[in-house]
């Protein structure tokens, strides 16, 4: 198709040719084209098929207000062709059964519309239940809008940005531009968000206002106080001046889409209006389009919407478009205006000058044709007269709908305004100001003046003294033409069998009538019952007509309000919300060496840790090496804290169950913390560094919340203590195994013999020149040292230990081996052997609880008293599999004897015992020694595994090895 040339309003670059594919066919577009305009220029008229009835759908709004032009673009389904710029090499495919333009095998669904009345889904799809799985699959196949594979990975570059400003202006039309300028001239920083790729709004494509739009846009661009984001639709507005949006990037940008989160003190909403669809039979046929769509298609993209057109409009912009398009070469057969009067006489005169028939008080009643429009029937609003016109294009619009979504999200109530025919806010949300067409203004000068006033109001809201300027701006606005009387007609005088109130969901006026006759009388309920406005267009098409039509039915006596708006106002890719998606994880100071040694790294909470050092999942070799020789583990993720000050001991007494007064320098004490219910939440060791000065460790998972936990539980006591999180400050290396002392002796002058440095003691010494705090612990049940070392030295210490252990055959071990060994030893890991309801007693750690320190009001102590002998609690038991050759059950497997009576916490094959062992939380009737535990596994096929409760620990019950 030839494009219109030499129009000053054009947004295409004719010298910039773009090649893309549509349905496998190579097509050409121009730079600046959207996919929709490019397809239209290439003769495509059917862009999609509707959800239920598979009716052909065409270009309607150019702003993505409905699902008509959703397509599969570069393998991404449901992309709006109207708002997507065409790019070289793009692959565009139609979706929802459109195999070729003129034929859809499911087109017969339209004839079955009688079988799908309002509430069809609710009434039909619940019985008989057995057909539902089959029916659902078929319906989805027939009706789905796009198909996506579950393992689909979104390509592209996504970014995010969190700018701040004094004022955020939503909308880059004449009102928004003026608001931005007046706020910036007041000295405020301004962010302007515009959903289209350029500024100017409804001035931009109008021949007489285009120059003014360009002038304003230039002024804004040159103002250093204004930051402009074009191609950036607003997604939501929230309290405290939060505005969310997203921006579509171009080739020059470093993103394809980016999420924008603006924080501003004031917000100016100048989002203008969209057109309100006219309701008549077949109002969504390809060839029927909105006034702005037809006008912009010609003026911005140089494409005439058709050859012969009929206009059925309800506002002066429709008349202006008819005149302008006629001048550009469109044959305008006639113009019908639903208004009996109120037209701009100058425009009516211009129509007459061009001999275009003009029908006041007339409206389109029916469009005919299937894949293409053939003719239109116009009728008088009263329904007495009719005329038919052959045409290929019907440009139809009932009136305007203000884009009030950003205001409505501020939880303000919307009320119908009889003069404008708009739903307007009863009162503006705090620090939010409205300007422009959405107030009902139509005169260009008034729109600009209202923008200037709103900008100043925002400045006043920011605390600036702009009273005099505001008063002048208000006077200026009052002297200009005010709001315009709007057309309130919702429905042509027809039955509405195929008059679509919601294109996305194929909801007709008849469906609304059916809902009304069933007693639904409020738009909010009817919306849910008929699905009108629940489609991807977010209520753009039906949002205004639905309440107007319901009001006209007189079924509801209260004041009719529009249905609720919710964010996102415009659909956003989940990938855009994910943004740059930096996966922020913590790595220990030993990470590289773990990886270099073949560590299989896994995310464990916020950390990345080595699970094992071979592909063999049970890490048996690592276990055997520690049991028989010596191994080395990176344990740096442990929580580590210093607590100091005169009341530090009191704070420890409050949160730990043991008597912390018994913690002495040079020794460690193992203890646990409980919550108020006596349920165990953390464990670790505590040592004393000096007077009123302690060091303690927590589990990796609790490290992030420990300081707050202690502060929370001492918040009313006015105690003087300080707590410092040193988790990242120390690397921790665990040297474990019967030969570990031999390794240590080679690299330190300190006396590390069992006599000088016995089990459960802590010593500070140097290894080479590295200062270490060494602890004799036995989590894995062997002679073991835990070295706490300044994090920057951790790698150096690791290398020293590796070197020293080389001749003994020392090897790395990871979390899996550690887990197996501590299981053999009967040591619990909180979270594995406990859950929300597990008390200290339940896991056999009741002995840690000191009953003599009641005066400290230990957290959980009261509950521990009550639950100590409580029946019906799950108790931790050790078990061995009855068949030593069987595999260990999966962690989490239920223990089921007719009903679930517990579950397996951890189970592994024990090399030391040559059979699988495990720990389980079971009901007390199963907790006795010798009890038989029936274990169910997902893949057991009904054959339960059996285990027997045995005493723990399984390995070295006297603890000789770790104390040796």
């Amino acid at each position: 198709m030839d494009r219109l040339k030499d129009l000053p309003t054009l947004r295409i670059r004719t010298e910039d040719k773009v090649s893309f594919k549509y349905q496998g066919r190579a097509l050409e577009a121009l730079g600046g084209d959207t996919v929709a305009t490019a397809l239209f220029a290439n003769g495509v008229r059917i862009f999609g098929r509707s959800l239920k009835y598979h009716r052909p759908r065409g270009l309607y709004s150019l702003d993505g207000e409905c699902s008509n032009t959703m397509m599969r673009i570069d393998s991404v389904p449901n992309v709006r062709a109207e708002t997507t710029s065409v790019k070289d090499g793009m692959n565009v495919e139609a979706q929802n059964g459109l195999r070729r333009q003129g034929f859809d095998p499911l087109g017969f669904m339209d004839a079955l519309s009688w079988a799908m009345p309002a509430g069809f889904y609710y009434k039909v799809f619940h019985k008989p239940a057995r057909i539902w799985p089959v029916a659902a699959r078929q319906i989805r196949k027939a009706a789905g809008l796009g198909v996506i594979s579950p393992d689909f990975e979104m390509a592209g570059r996504y970014d995010e940005i969190y700018p701040h400003a004094d004022v955020c202006v939503l909308g880059g039309g004449p009102a928004g531009l003026n608001a931005a300028l007046s706020a910036a001239e007041s000295g405020l920083s301004v962010i302007l968000l515009e959903s289209r790729p350029w500024l100017g709004g409804f001035f931009d494509y109008r021949s007489k206002l285009h120059a003014r739009a360009a002038e304003l846009a230039l002024e804004v661009a040159n103002n250093p106080g204004i930051r402009v984001f074009t191609n950036a639709p607003v997604v939501g507005t929230y309290s405290d001046g939060l505005v969310t949006a997203f921006q579509r990037g171009s080739k020059a940008d470093c993103f394809d889409e980016r999420y924008i989160e603006v924080r501003a003190t004031s917000t100016v909403v100048a989002t203008g209006c969209i057109e309100r669809p006219l309701l008549f039979e077949n109002n969504e046929k390809p060839g029927v389009m909105q006034v702005g769509c037809a006008h912009r298609l010609a003026r911005s993209w140089g494409i005439l919407p058709g050859k012969k057109a009929v206009f059925s409009v309800g506002h002066d912009l429709g008349l202006e478009a008819a005149i302008d398009l006629a001048d550009l070469g469109l044959e305008v057969r006639c113009v019908a205006d639903v208004r009996e009067d109120g037209q701009d006489p100058r425009l009516v005169g211009e129509l007459q000058k061009r001999s275009i028939p003009f029908y006041r008080g007339w409206v389109a009643t029916q469009a005919k044709g299937w894949n293409r429009l053939r003719s239109v029937t116009l009728g008088s609003v009263g329904g007495a007269h009719e005329r038919r016109f052959d045409c290929d294009t019907l440009i139809a619009s009932a009136g305007f709908t203000p884009v009030w979504g950003p205001i409505a999200l501020g939880q303000t109530k919307m009320r119908f305004d009889l003069h404008t025919g708009f739903f307007l806010p009863e009162r503006m949300p705090q620090n939010m100001y409205a300007a422009g067409r959405l107030l009902g203004l139509c005169d260009p000068a008034s729109i600009e003046a209202s923008g200037r006033l709103a900008g100043l109001e925002a400045a006043a809201g920011r605390g600036l003294d702009v009273a005099a300027r505001m008063s002048a701006a208000r006077e200026e606005l009052e002297a200009l033409p005010g709001t315009v009387r709007g057309s309130k007609l919702a429905m042509a005088p027809v039955k509405g069998k195929k008059a679509f109130i919601c294109f996305d969901e194929d909801t007709t006026v008849k469906n609304i009538d059916q809902a009304l006759s069933m007693g639904f009388d409020m738009p909010e309920l009817i919306k849910r019952f008929t699905s009108a406005g629940t489609g991807p267009g977010q209520g753009g098409i039906p949002g205004h007509n639905l309440p107007l039509y319901v009001a006209s039915s007189m079924r509801y006596q209260g004041e009719v309000r529009p249905t609720s708006m919710r964010a996102p106002l415009v659909p956003v890719l989940v990938a855009t919300y994910a943004g740059a998606n930096h996966d922020m994880a913590k790595r220990t100071g030993l990470h590289e060496s773990q990886q270099a040694a073949g560590g299989v790294m896994e995310r464990v909470g916020v950390w990345i840790r080595a699970r094992r050092f071979s592909q063999e999942k049970s890490a048996r070799a690592e276990v055997e090496n520690v049991r028989n020789n010596v191994g080395i583990l990176d344990g740096s993720t442990l929580g580590k804290f210093r607590i100091h000050g005169p009341d530090a001991l009191k704070a420890l007494q409050r949160v730990y169950v043991s008597d912390m007064a018994r913690v002495v320098e040079g020794r460690m004490r193992y203890s646990a913390m409980c919550n108020e219910d006596g349920c165990v939440i953390d464990d670790g060791v505590i040592t004393k560094l000096g007077e009123n000065d302690f060091f303690f460790t927590t589990s990796t998972a609790r490290a992030g919340v420990t300081a707050e936990w202690i502060r929370y539980h001492t918040r009313y006591d006015d105690w003087d203590y300080s707590i410092v999180n040193l988790t990242d400050a120390y690397g921790v290396i665990n040297l474990a195994g019967p030969n570990s002392r031999k390794v240590l002796e080679k690299i330190t002058d300190a006396d590390v013999s069992n006599e000088s440095f016995p089990f459960s003691c802590v010593r500070d010494f140097h290894i080479r020149s590295i200062p270490v705090r060494a602890m004799r612990l036995g989590f894995v049940g062997e002679l073991s040292y835990e070295f706490h070392v300044p994090a920057s030295f951790a790698q150096s210490l690791w290398e020293v230990l590796e070197e020293a252990g080389k001749e003994l055959g020392m090897k790395n071990f990871g979390l899996e081996a550690q887990n197996t060994m501590r299981l053999e030893k009967g040591h619990v890991i909180l979270g594995s052997e406990s859950e929300q309801r597990t008390t200290l007693h339940d896991i056999g750690l009741g002995g840690l609880w000191s009953r003599d320190k009641a005066r400290w009001k230990t957290v959980g102590a009261v509950a521990l008293t009550h639950t100590e002998h409580q029946r019906g609690r799950l108790k931790l038991v050790g078990f061995k599999m009855e068949a030593p050759a069987s595999k260990p059950p999966l962690d989490g497997s239920p223990i089921a004897d007719g009903r679930v009576k517990g579950y397996v916490c951890t189970a592994r094959y024990s090399t030391a015992l040559s059979q699988p062992v495990g720990m389980a939380l079971v009901e007390d009737e199963l907790a006795g020694e010798g009890c038989r535990l029936p274990i169910f596994e997902d893949d057991c096929g009904g054959r339960l595994l059996y285990a027997k409760v045995v005493p723990m620990p399984f390995y070295d019950p006297e603890g000789k090895r770790m104390k040796s």
Partner: protein, 211 residues
């Protein structure tokens, strides 16, 4: 065996000049550093946490603790950030100053924290891609401290100087986040040509601040 100390980060640049200092390998300058914003690793600089109910009685390095939380004080290469009613953080940004932190109320946190500096043009265009913290709050006088998520990680951030989108910003977070934090910042800064910078670059920026 060389018992050297390792920074939580290795910036992806080729060091042009570096020196050994107290076991640390400190990069003074990277190749091709000039022009554009710099990301500088200052993790080797000593840092302390100071907590006391009467925190005002302390005069670390001869300096008063700022009166209100959120305020910072920078003198002679020492930065003190008032974090709360009873807590302050102290960062030694210059090697010229001797230590003065013997009181038990001080805890050295050098090892636990990653400390990075962003200096030069457009650094606040980079930071706004990673955080919603308001570094351009006109009601705040530099230097000032803001707590909050930076690339989703809890951080202490201090704006040392600011001129529209340019300036100097310090950022401290848990050491373990070092690799991902620098990766996130460098990635966000790519469009602004953010480069790794050496300690000399930071010293130059500090000189500029001092006037």
């Amino acid at each position: 065996m060389n018992c050297e100390r390792r920074s939580p980060v290795t910036l992806p640049g080729r060091p042009a000049r570096s020196e050994k200092r107290d076991g640390w390998n400190v990069v003074l300058e990277y190749e091709g550093e000039s022009g554009g914003p710099l990301l500088i690793d200052l993790s080797h600089g000593r840092k302390w946490d100071l907590q006391d109910v009467d925190i005002a009685r302390f005069k670390p390095f001869g300096m008063s603790i700022p009166d209100d939380p959120g305020q910072s004080r920078l003198e002679n290469g020492i930065l003190i950030n008032r974090m709360g009613r009873t807590q302050a953080s102290i960062w030694r940004l210059s090697e010229q100053v001797p230590d003065d932190t013997a009181d038990p109320a001080f805890t050295e946190t050098t090892e636990g924290q990653l400390l990075l500096a962003l200096a030069g043009p457009n650094i606040f265009s980079i930071t706004e891609k990673l955080t919603s913290l308001e570094f351009d709050d006109s009601s705040k006088v530099t230097p000032f401290l803001l707590f909050g998520p930076f690339s989703h990680v809890p951080c202490q951030t201090v704006v040392l100087s600011r001129s529209k989108r340019d300036g100097v910003l310090l950022l401290a977070c848990s050491r373990g986040y070092g690799r991902d934090m620098t990766h996130a910042i460098l990635e966000a800064g790519r469009e602004f040509r953010l480069k790794p910078g050496g300690e000399n670059g930071f010293a130059a920026a500090m000189k500029e601040i001092a006037g």
